[in-house]
Symmetry: D2
Subunit: 341 residues, 4 copies
C-alpha cells in the first residue's frame, strides 16, 4: 500500500526520534522549564531573526489555535478568518467553545485579501449599530492555507498594515509552515513571518515531530500569565521535554527546513507526473499538498493500492482528491504511484 493520504502517517523523523532516545533518561525540569525547551526557544528565535520572541510549546493545531485566540481576544471580540479557514471548518467549534465568534470573510484560494479585510473592518465601524456586533479583534490566516497555497511577502505586509492600522494582531497558523517556507517560488522567509505576524505557530506534528507546535509571540505581546492560561485550557504537559526535545532537534542544523524541502521535492515530482498525464488541478498549490481532479472510476481503481484523501465532489463523475507528501515520502513512493495513474 502507498500512503499519500496526509502528512501525519509516520512517527517522528529519524533525527528527532534519535534525540528523544538520547535524552530519555536525563532528569529534567517540568512545565516548560526543561533545558531542551529552553534551548529550542533560543534556536527558534535565531531562525526567526527575532530576539524578542517569546515561545511556548503546545500539542496539536486545534489546541494551539484555541489557546492563542482565546488568550488574545477580549470577550467582545471575534477572530476574522477565511470561510475556508481551519478554525471555521474543522475544529469542531473550538473557538466558539472558548466564547468567540469566527468572523468569516470570503477567500481566494484559501487566502484573505488585504483590501477585503480593510473594507470589512471599515464597514464595521461605519455601521452605526456596531456596538451590538462582534468586534474584529484578530486576523487568522494559515500559511500554507487549507488549499496548500501561499501568501507572498507583499500580501503578508499588506495584511500586517491593515492589522496595525486597526491595532489588532495578525496570527498565522503554521501547521505546515515548513512546507510553505521551502516551496519553490516563495519569497517569504521565517524572518518575514516573524516580522509581519504578531503571533504564529510552527507546526511540528505535520513536519517531522511525533507531536508539538511552537507558538511564537513576536512583539513582546504575550498575554499576561500565558503559562497559567495553557494550564487552564488543559494544554500544559508535565513532561514538557516531549515538545522541547523535538523542537530542539528540528531547529538544529536546519533539520526543520531540510525535511520540509524533501517533501516539496517529492510533491514537485508528483505534480509533474500528474501534469504530464493531463490530470487537471482543482487549485494550483506549490506546497506538499496536490489537489488534482480525478475520475471517480480512477479513484475506485487506484485506492486499492494507494491511500489518498477525498477532498470534495467536483461533478457527477469527478472528485477533487488530495495527495500529500511528507518528509517520509520517497522517490520510490512517487514512482510507484505514477505507475498507478
Amino acid at each position: 500500500m502507498l500512503y499519500f493520504e496526509n502528512d501525519y502517517t509516520e512517527g517522528a523523523c529519524p533525527e528527532v526520534l534519535e534525540h528523544l532516545i538520547k535524552t530519555n533518561n536525563e532528569k529534567l525540569a517540568a512545565y516548560g522549564f526543561d533545558k531542551y525547551s529552553i534551548s529550542a526557544r533560543e534556536k527558534i528565535k535565531a531562525a526567526c531573526d527575532c530576539p524578542d520572541a517569546d515561545i511556548y510549546f503546545l500539542t496539536g493545531g486545534t489546541q494551539t489555535n484555541r489557546v492563542v485566540i482565546g488568550s488574545m481576544l477580549r470577550p467582545y471580540e471575534g477572530v476574522i478568518a477565511a470561510v475556508s479557514g481551519h478554525i471555521n471548518q474543522h475544529e469542531a467549534g473550538a473557538i466558539e467553545n472558548s466564547g468567540h465568534k469566527v468572523l468569516a470573510l470570503p477567500h481566494k484560494d484559501g487566502k484573505i485579501n488585504a483590501d477585503t479585510l480593510r473594507d470589512y473592518i471599515k464597514a464595521f465601524y461605519a455601521d452605526g449599530t456596531y456596538p451590538h456586533m462582534v468586534f474584529p479583534g484578530m486576523v487568522y490566516i494559515s500559511h500554507p492555507t487549507e488549499y496548500g497555497t501561499l501568501y507572498t511577502k507583499d500580501e503578508l505586509k499588506q495584511l500586517h498594515e491593515v492589522c496595525s492600522f486597526y491595532n489588532i494582531p495578525l496570527y498565522m497558523d503554521g501547521a505546515r509552515l515548513g512546507y510553505g517556507l521551502m516551496a519553490e517560488g516563495t519569497d517569504v522567509t521565517m524572518a518575514d513571518v516573524a516580522k509581519y505576524c504578531d503571533v504564529f505557530y510552527i507546526g511540528g506534528t505535520k513536519v517531522g515531530a511525533l507531536c508539538g507546535e511552537a507558538v511564537v509571540f513576536t512583539k513582546k505581546n504575550t498575554p499576561a500569565h500565558f503559562l497559567t492560561l495553557t494550564k487552564m485550557y488543559g494544554s500544559m504537559v508535565a513532561k514538557s521535554r516531549i515538545n522541547g526535545v523535538q523542537f530542539d532537534r528540528l531547529f538544529t542544523d536546519d533539520l526543520y527546513f531540510e525535511i520540509s524541502k524533501k517533501a516539496i521535492l517529492t510533491a514537485k515530482k508528483l505534480r509533474e507526473i500528474l501534469k504530464s498525464k493531463n490530470y487537471p488541478f482543482f487549485i494550483d498549490s506549490p506546497t506538499n499538498q496536490l489537489f488534482p481532479i480525478l475520475e471517480n472510476s480512477t479513484i475506485e481503481r487506484i485506492t486499492k493500492d494507494v491511500k489518498i484523501s477525498i477532498w470534495e465532489p467536483y461533478d457527477e463523475n469527478h472528485t477533487v482528491v488530495r495527495f500529500a507528501t511528507s518528509w517520509a515520502t520517497t522517490d520510490e513512493d512517487v514512482d510507484a504511484l505514477a505507475e498507478l495513474l
Copy 2:
C-alpha cells in the same frame, strides 16, 4: 418630531400599563410563581391551541435567544441561522459567548429555504470529516424576519419536516410575532407556529409591553431544570410579576393581536403613500417595517422632522431606510409623515 425609527419608542400600551398599576400593590410570589405569570401561561396555551406548552418569561430578545439556544444545544452542536439572522449579526456574539457556533446559511429576503437547509445537513453528514466539525443542532428562524418578511404556512411545515427528519428543534424568534400574525395575506396562525416549531418566543418588548418575552416549548421538550438555567444565565427576575402581569393582559381579549393589527394598518397606509409617490422598495415586506429606498437629499431633508432608521447604503445617492410603525402609531402620524415625503 415624528417617530418612525423603531417599534420600541414608547412604554407599555395603555391596557398593559393599567394592569401593572392595578396589580402593583398585590403581594405576589416571586421567580415565576406569581399568579399572573400562571394565568398568562394558561392564556398563551389557549392562544397557541397547545395545551402541552410549557412557558417561561424572560426579558429581552438577545437574552431569550441566548438562554433558549444555550439550553437546548449539546456542547458539540451549533445553531443554523440565515446569514442575516439577528443572532448572527446583532447580538454581540451572545450565542458564541455561550459556547456555540452560528452556522450561517444563505437567505432569501431574510428567510431560510427548506431545501437549502436539507442540502446543508445532508452535505454535513456526507462529509467524512464531520466528526471534526460543528454538528447542526437547531434551526433558528425569525418571523417576521429582519427584513419584515414572513414565512408561509407551507414553508414552516417544510422546515419542520427537515428538522423532524434530523431530530433537531426548530426555533422561532418572534420578537415581532404579533406583527407577523396580523399581516395581510399571511396564512400562519399562532397555532401553526406552535405546531411547527419546537420552541418559539412571543415578543412583548416590541409589541405593547415595557419589557418581556414569552418562551413557549411546544413538545414537552423543556430542557431539564430550565428555571435553574435561567438563573445561571442571569435572566431570572425576582419580581416575575413584571412579565407575568404584562403578558396576562396582552393575552386577555386578544389585546396582543389587536394592537399588532393597528400597527399593520398604519404600515399599510404608509406603504400605499410611499408607492403612490413612487418610492421604490428595497424589499416587499407585509409587516410593520417598510424599507423604501430614499435619495440621500430626501433623507437629509425629512430627518429634521422625523426619526427613521438608516438601514444600508443602496448606491452613491440612495440609501435604504426603515420606517417602523407600532401599536402607538396614529393615522395622524402617518398623515404628517406623508406631508414630508
Copy 3:
C-alpha cells in the same frame, strides 16, 4: 395573610410607579440613551459624591454580578467571596458559567475580614505552584450581607487598602444597599461606598423598584466596550427607560433613602417586639432582615397567618427563620405579627 417572607413581594413603590405612568407615552431613545437614564446617572453621581462615576442599568442581582464580574476579570482570575456570599451559594453557578472560579473565604457574620483577605492573597503568591492556581482577581462583598449585617467604614477602608495593594478591584453587591445605608448605627455613607469600592451596584428590585439595578464604576475603570458586553451577556434591554425612569425617581428627593429608612424602622419595631418576647436571634442584624430562632411548633402555628422564610435548621426543635420588612411594610403589619408571636 401577613407578608414578611422577603422584600420583593410588591411591585414598585408609589412614587416610582407614578413616574413610570407619567412618562409612559414619551418617545424615548433606546439602549441606555433615553433621557431618564441620563438624568438618573447624574443624580446617582451626586448621591455618591463621585463626579467621575460611570453608571449602567441592569436587571436583576445575579445578572449584575455575572456581567460585572465576568467583564472585569481576566480569564486566569477568580473572584474572592465569603463562603456565604450570594455568588457562591445562590446564583446557580452564574459566575462559573462565565468561566471564573469563586474563591471562597471563611466569613464572620457574612463578612470578609481584611486580615483574612490579606493572608489569603499573601499565601497565594508565597506558594511556588501559584501559576497552576486561579489568581485572585477581584473581591466581592455584599452590604448588607446575606445575614443582614454591615461593614463599618473602617472595615471597608481596610478591604480597600488590601485590594489597592494587590491592584484588584473591590466590588460591592448592594442588592439591599439602601437598607444598609439607613441602618441605625452605621457610619457608612453612599459616598464612602463610592470611595472605597471600585465598582458597586445599587439594588432597585428590593428597594422600591419593579426591577433594575444601577452599576457604578467609580474609578474611571469601566471595562472597554461595556455596553457591548451587556448585549453579549443578554442583559441589555431595548426600552432602557424601564430602569432609567425608576432610578431617576428613586434618586429624586432622596426617595431611595427614605423608603429604605421606612423599612429599617418597621424592622426595628419588630426586633424590639421579638426581644421583648425573648426570642433568641441567630445573628444580630441591624437592617431590614431579622433572623430569630423559632420553635418548630411556633413556625407551624404562625405560618397559617404570616409568610416567612425558613432559613436553616437550628436544632431538632428549632429553626432559624427570616422576617424581612420593606418600604411596603406598615406599622399595622408589625402589630398584627406581634399578636401572633
Copy 4:
C-alpha cells in the same frame, strides 16, 4: 544530584521507549484509529475485566479532567470534590473555565467520606432554594489522593452506592493509579475501580509514559460524540499513535503494574529509613509519595544534593516535604539519600 522531587523527571520507561522506536516508521491511521490505540484499548479492557469499557487517550491530567467533567456534566451541574482535590486547587480554574463549579467538600487525608457526601446531597435537595443553586452532578475523587492516600474497596463501594442512588457518575482521577493499585495493603484492584467508578482515567505521564492518559468509561455511558468533544476542547492529537503505542506497551505483560510496584518498593525502603531515623510524617501514605516533616535546617542542608518538593509549612522551624519515587528510582538512589538524612 539525587531526584525525589516528583515522578515525572524522566522520559518514558525503557520498554515503552522501545515500542515507540520499533513502531516509528509504520504508517498508521490518525485520530485514535491507529492499530496500537485499538490494541491498547483491548488490553485495558482485559486489565479492567470490563468488556464494555469504552476507552479514549488524552494528554495530561488537567486536560483529561476538563474534558471528562465538561463532557459529562449538564450546564446546571457542578462536580463534587474534596477541598484538597487537584481540580479544586491546581488546575488553574480549568473546570470553571469550562463553565462548571467545583463543589468542595471537607476531606480526611485527601479523601471524601461517603456519609459526608450523602449528607451534602441530601441537604442540597432538602433546601427549598435548591433550584437557585448548583446541582451536584458528579463526584470526583483521586486514587491515590493528593496526599498519597488510598480508598479501601469498601469506601469505593460506599461512594458508588451514594452516586448510584442519586444517579450521578463517580469519576476517579488516576494520575498515579498504578502506584495506588500496587501499594501494600490495598484491597482495590483495577477491576474494582472499573466496577465502582462510572469513569476513571489511567495516568501514563507519571507512570512510565512520556505522556498520555487513558479515559475509561465503564458503563456504556460515553458522552455522545465524545471524539468531537475532544476535538472541540483542543485535546485530539493527529498522531494518536503517540498515546496508543505507549499504552499498548504499558498494558502488555503487566508492565504498568510492574513499574508501579518498583516505585512502591523504593518508597517502602525510604519510608523505613525515615522512620528509623525518627522523622515524623505529616500523613501516612502507602504509595510512592512520602510526606515527612523536616527541620528547615535539614532541608537547607540536603537540598544541595537532592531535589525534593516543599509541600507546606508545618511550624516555624519545620516544613512538610514530599519525596516521590518512580519506576526510575533505584535502590542506590535511596541509599544515597539515606546517607544525607
